[in-house]
Every structure is written in C-alpha cells, then in structure tokens.
C-alpha cells in the first residue's frame, strides 16, 4: 500500500519519462507518428494479400477485422518486450537517483498506450473510409474501452514480472520475444473465433485472458461477421461477456502478483545492475 502511494506521488516523473519516450521516438524521424503505424499496416497488408492468394479468407471484409485486432495485439506485445528491458535501459538512473522503480514499467506502458491511441484513431478512420462505419456504429463499441484497459492491466502485470526477471537473467527478453512471435499465430488474426468454436475449443481458447480481450475488442468495434467455411455458415459470436469478465479478473490478479513481486525485490534489483 505504501509503495502504491509512493508511485502516485511520483506522477510528475512518470509524466516526464513518458514525454521523454515519445520525444525520442519521434525526434529523428520525418513522418513522426506515421512510423509507429507502418509496421502493423504492413502486417495487415501482407496478411490480407496472403489470405486472398490462398483463398482462405473466411469473411468478406477481412481487413476490417484485422484492423480490429492487430493494433491491440501490437500494443500488448510491445508493452511486454519494452517492459522487459525498462530497468536495464534506465540503469544509469536507477544507480544514481532514488525513485520508486515501479514507475519505470508504468511509464513504458503509458508511452505505448499513447501509440495505441494513435493507431486506434487510424482504425476508426479506416472504418469510415471502408464504409463499415457509420453503418455499424452500435453502443457495444463502448466495450472497447474496458477491453483496452484490461489489456493494459495485464500487460503491466506481466511487465513487472519480466522486468524483474530480466535484471537477473539477461536472456529473458530473447525468450519473451520468441514467445510473443509464437503467440501471435495463436491469436484470432489468421482465423476467427467462430472457427475456433466450430472445432470445439472455445472455452480453453478464451480462458487465455489476452485472447478473450482481443475478441472482446474486435467484437465491440465490429458486429459478428458471417463466417463461411467450406460452404457452411458458422454460428456467429458477439461480445463474449463471461470470458471478458474472467479475463478482467485474471488481468487484475496478474497485476497484483506482478507488482508485489517487483516491489518485494526492488532493492535487490539496484544491487544487481
């Protein structure tokens, strides 16, 4: 509790660190913010083209559904890989000035959340260009907010654990990056949740909090699609309320555990750097 209050007191420093991250990112680049969009946009383009090529697109407006999931996944995965190295990257500071170390992963998360906000605005714009919006604007869109919020909570919780581990074992970040790449293919990107349900894997699949959050986010932004596989229309799935609730609880739990672990070992970390 004491540690949480201290983190709160250090708001100005958190803000300054976020500002530093954002400035650094855009300092030497001519297109500025456009660059942070480039990578996921290329991904969307490639995936859409590949799916078209092998004629495996299960839904007609495939790229819209990609937009409705890939940026949030990028936010989550970058938060983890950045969060992993945040203590090492700021070792110079950690060794010379006192501040609650817990603000470092938090500042990293907030900077990435800002990038996500830009990507989100771009997503909405794209929906309008595509004609998906305003036709499909429904009140369920509001569910995107808690979906993003709990993705951030989960990302921060895991970041605390990884940042702590990475101080002691420096190859943690390589393992994390490899796992994230692997995890990408298990996310509802190359397939829809309807296809997972068809195979009977809905419950175990959605027990993974990040999968449940991504599906919630996608189905909040867009209505359930008509999924056609082998000439058969699959039962469509809307916002998975129960699994969203489960993911919210899991994420909060992960954050509590991650923060406590980080907090308990924060003194050891400075000595290990």
């Amino acid at each position: 509790m004491e540690s949480l209050r201290e983190v709160w007191q250090y708001r100005p420093l958190i803000l300054e660190l976020v500002r530093r991250d954002l400035k650094l990112r855009y300092k030497n680049s001519v297109g500025g913010i456009a660059w942070s969009l480039l990578n996921p946009l290329m991904q969307i383009l490639v995936i859409t083209l590949v799916m078209k090529f092998i004629q495996a697109r299960p839904i007609s407006s495939y790229s819209a559904y990609l937009f409705g999931v890939i940026f949030l996944w990028t936010f989550f995965s970058v938060t983890l890989s950045d969060g992993c190295v945040t203590i090492l990257q700021n070792a110079q500071l950690v060794r010379k000035v006192y501040f609650p170390r817990a603000i470092l992963p938090l500042a990293t998360l907030l900077a990435n959340l800002f990038h996500f906000a830009v990507a989100f605005a771009f997503t909405i714009l794209y929906f309008f260009v595509l004609g998906t919006y305003p036709q499909n604007v429904r009140w369920e869109i509001l569910m995107a907010i808690p979906a993003v919020f709990f993705t951030a909570v989960l990302g921060l919780g895991i970041s605390y654990i990884l940042a702590y581990l990475n101080v002691f074992y420096e190859d943690v970040r390589f393992i994390v990056n490899a796992l994230l790449q692997l995890a990408f293919y298990t996310m509802p990107v190359f397939f829809t949740i309807e296809q997972v349900a068809e195979k009977g894997w809905f419950t175990p699949y959605m027990s993974n909090p990040i999968a449940a959050l991504l599906v919630t986010y996608q189905r909040a932004l867009l209505p359930p699609p008509e999924v056609l596989v082998a000439g058969k229309t699959l039962a469509s799935i809307g916002i998975p309320w129960a699994f969203f609730a489960l993911a919210a609880i899991t994420s909060t739990l992960v954050l509590v555990i991650g923060f406590s672990l980080f907090d308990k070992h924060q003194w050891e970390m400075a000595e290990r750097l």
């Binding site: 530093r20 010379k96 501040f99």
Partner: protein, 242 residues
Amino acid sequence: MNAIEVENVTKVFKVLHRETSIKSAAMKRLRLKRPHREEFTALRDISFHVPQGQTVGVIGRNGSGKSTLLTLLARIYKPTSGIIKMHGRVATLLELGAGFHPEFTGLENVFLNGVILGMPREEIEKRLPSIIEFAGLEEFIDTPVKHYSSGMTTRLGFSVAVHLDPDVILVDEVLAVGDAQFQEKCYAKIEEFKKRGATIFFVSHDMKAIERVSDRVLWIDEHTLRADGPTDEVISNYNIRN
C-alpha cells in the same frame, strides 16, 4: 534538530556468482553445480547524527566504503541492518546530469533532469533563466547535449542541481568540475546554501575542497568510522596516517 540520523548501519553486499542467463543457469544445473555466494561487508556498524545546517565532508581511501555510505543515504541501496533517517527534501548528486539524454537539447534536459531530481515543472520554468545563466550556456541551450563538451554537460548538470532548493544535499566528488572560474561559482553557491541553513554531506578526495567548506569531517577507513570530528583535527590525523 537532526537532518541525518544514522544508527548502527551495516551494509553487506552479496556477491552472487550466479549465472546471468537462463541458458547458462540451466547448463550449470545439469552439471550439478550449486551457485556459490560470497559476502562483502562494505560498511560495519556506522553511527552518526548530522544536525541541520552542518556541512560534513567524508574522506577515506578508495574502496573504504565512502560511496556506499552515500548511496545508502540516497536510498539507492537498503542497509542490511541499522536505521537511516533523513529529514527534509533531499537532493542527490551522485552524478551530475543524471538521466541526461544525448539526443535532447540542453533545455529539454534541464526539465528532464530537474524532474528526476524532484523539482516540479513549474518551478523549473520559473528558475530557467537563472539555471541557464549559471551554467553559462545561453548560446547553446537549444543544441542537443551530444554536441556539448564534457565540461559544458557537467556545468549544466551542476546548475540544475544547485537550483533545487533542497534541505539536505548529498554530493559525490562533483566539485572538481569545470575550470577555476566555474569552481569559484560552485563554492559561492555552496556558501549560499550554508547561509540558508541547508545540510550538506559530501564525499571527496580533494582535501582542499573538504577543508574549505566542511564544519566537520568523517573519516571512513576499512569499512568503519575511524574518526568523526572538527575538520582540521581529522584531516591532520588522516594526513599523518597516509
């Protein structure tokens, strides 16, 4: 009223000869070797109080534990046993320009460094002209710090630091920066702090600097407090032994 209270403080570092990667840790486990640990006592049972407004110099040979003492006061490390109490706003100057980023301009770094050291943004803004003038960098304040000479960087760092308005200042070897003229300015600033009643605690190898500003000297030798007394007395003792 004491500004710094140190009671029976001991600091033991655990030097872990542990593997730094999971890969090598796993390899080692396979060969059934246990990680062995060594302990290193950096400070043993140190106690002293510093009343508000006193300037204390810390002397001692390299590796005697001076800097460890300072990092403990700065809350970078936690003492293994004993109690440390600090009263008032503490400014830590273990390194000038902590957190300076080479890509940022001098001005941007002033804000970054100031906030890191605990100064609110509005306060930095208010003192900005004075900070820039003190560093003597009016012409270069919008130049990225990577183009600064090392002297310019330290001057800027020192300038931010002295504008903090702290109650307690912890300083490590930073008075030896800049040319003679800048050093004079630093001493003048320290005198000003002393007059205002700030407590200064600093570590240095420069006996002249210690003699010039301290009211009291702590001599750390072989990880213990060997002497604690008036400046001239402790320094002359120190000079005899070394």
